[in-house]
């Protein structure tokens, strides 16, 4: 179809895979030595001069090309590679700050990547310094509608008993009460959800919220908050304290909290370097 398909044999093409960027650290290399790397490519290596190192491996381009083209993609393959990518970053995170690369960053040669690193050294250094001593934590909040409904019903004033009213009036009153319970539920969820987000954010350096879905694995209830926090290691106790206090307050209202982390600062390292004309 495309020229590339005709002129290149993809089967043995190899490329440099970038996991992330970290400051040079004696412990880093040792920590990476025990990693098997993406696609069993072996322990990641450190590339680059001076204090700034790219964490890289050599991979076969074949499967990545298949994803990029219109061909079949194996979700199981993608899922495994994604977790291998993360495993390397987690190992690096144990040793110090790491600027995580997006999944699938592939470069033609180590030399060219090293040059790009050199070219972007100032921005990368600033970014790593900003993230030093901080990690990302995820908090999702799920809401049990039944428990929330009970709270909302408590707070909606009871109407007159139905026995004293005509059937039509009773029906209308009941409808209105139902509607106001729904409205009250929405208002409570909104207010309490915002309170959770604000209190956690007050213990973090930065925060961001992501998409909501019906649910998540192993969870009951609707997801009403899906947030990520960049937390300074020195303030982690306070962050944990805030979370525990929110749990104590809001679990009786039907909220459930799910914490994940520590993550490399994926959600706070959204850096895009380079332009079409270099």
């Amino acid at each position: 179809m495309s020229d590339a398909d005709q002129t290149e044999s993809p089967s043995d093409e190899r490329a440099v895979y970038l996991y992330g960027i970290a400051p040079h650290d004696a412990g880093l290399e040792a920590a990476l030595a025990s990693q098997k790397g993406i696609e069993d490519s072996g322990p990641p290596r450190l590339l680059g001069s001076g204090d700034l190192k790219a964490i890289v491996g050599m991979v076969s381009l074949d499967a990545f090309r298949r994803i990029e083209s219109e061909g079949d993609v194996d979700l199981a393959w993608v899922g495994t590679r994604v977790q291998e990518h993360e495993a390397v970053l987690q190992a690096a995170l144990d040793m110090g700050p790491v600027l995580p690369a997006r999944f699938g960053a592939l470069y033609r040669s180590e030399g060219e990547l090293a040059e790009a690193l050199e070219r972007h050294r100032p921005e990368l250094t600033v970014e790593i310094d900003r993230l030093r001593g901080k990690k990302e934590w995820g908090v999702q909040v799920f809401c049990d509608d039944e428990a929330l409904r009970a709270r909302a019903e408590e707070s909606v004033a009871d109407g007159p008993g139905e026995g004293t009213l005509g059937a039509g009036t009773a029906y209308l009153l009941r409808k209105r009460a139902e509607r106001s319970v729904e409205e009250r539920m929405a208002a409570l969820q909104e207010t309490w959800g915002r309170e959770c987000q604000e209190r956690l954010a007050s213990m973090a350096e930065d925060s961001t919220t992501g998409g909501l879905g019906a649910t998540a694995p192993g969870q009951s209830g609707r997801m009403i908050l899906n947030a990520s926090y960049l937390v300074d290691d020195d303030r982690l106790d306070g962050f944990g304290e805030a979370l525990r206090s929110l749990e104590a307050t809001f679990e009786p209202m039907g909220f459930r909290f799910r914490l994940t982390g520590p993550w490399p600062p994926h959600s706070f390292a959204f850096v895009r370097l380079g332009s079409l004309q270099s």
């Binding site: 994803i67 997006r102 699938g104 592939l106 995820g138 879905g213 994940t260 959600s267 370097l273 004309q277």
Partner: protein, 118 residues
Amino acid sequence: MSISRYDGAQAVRPSNMTLADVLERILDKGLVIVGDIQVNVLDIELLTLKVRLLIASVETAQAIGIDWWTGDPTLSKSARDLHEENRSLKERVERLERSLSAGDGRERRSEEARPRRP
């Protein structure tokens, strides 16, 4: 200097990270170094988009519990728009390339089309 892994480990009790958690974080975010001619072999934004479309279109997405981030209507809509835009750009570049006489100075495939971020 082996510092205990997280000083606040007693303060927080994280859940296990699922594939969904990892996908959400590393697919759309993180450092991207692109556009320096000759540097990247694949278009990472296109790659991200393809994986995203794949996951959004596979029913197993729900089974592995990733519907909560693929289900975002604005994201999947912009992903589809981007997909279309990218396809038409690629076709255009291919036409342009064919119209140029063959051979020298041909750009790499990864440089042909460059989708915008949504």
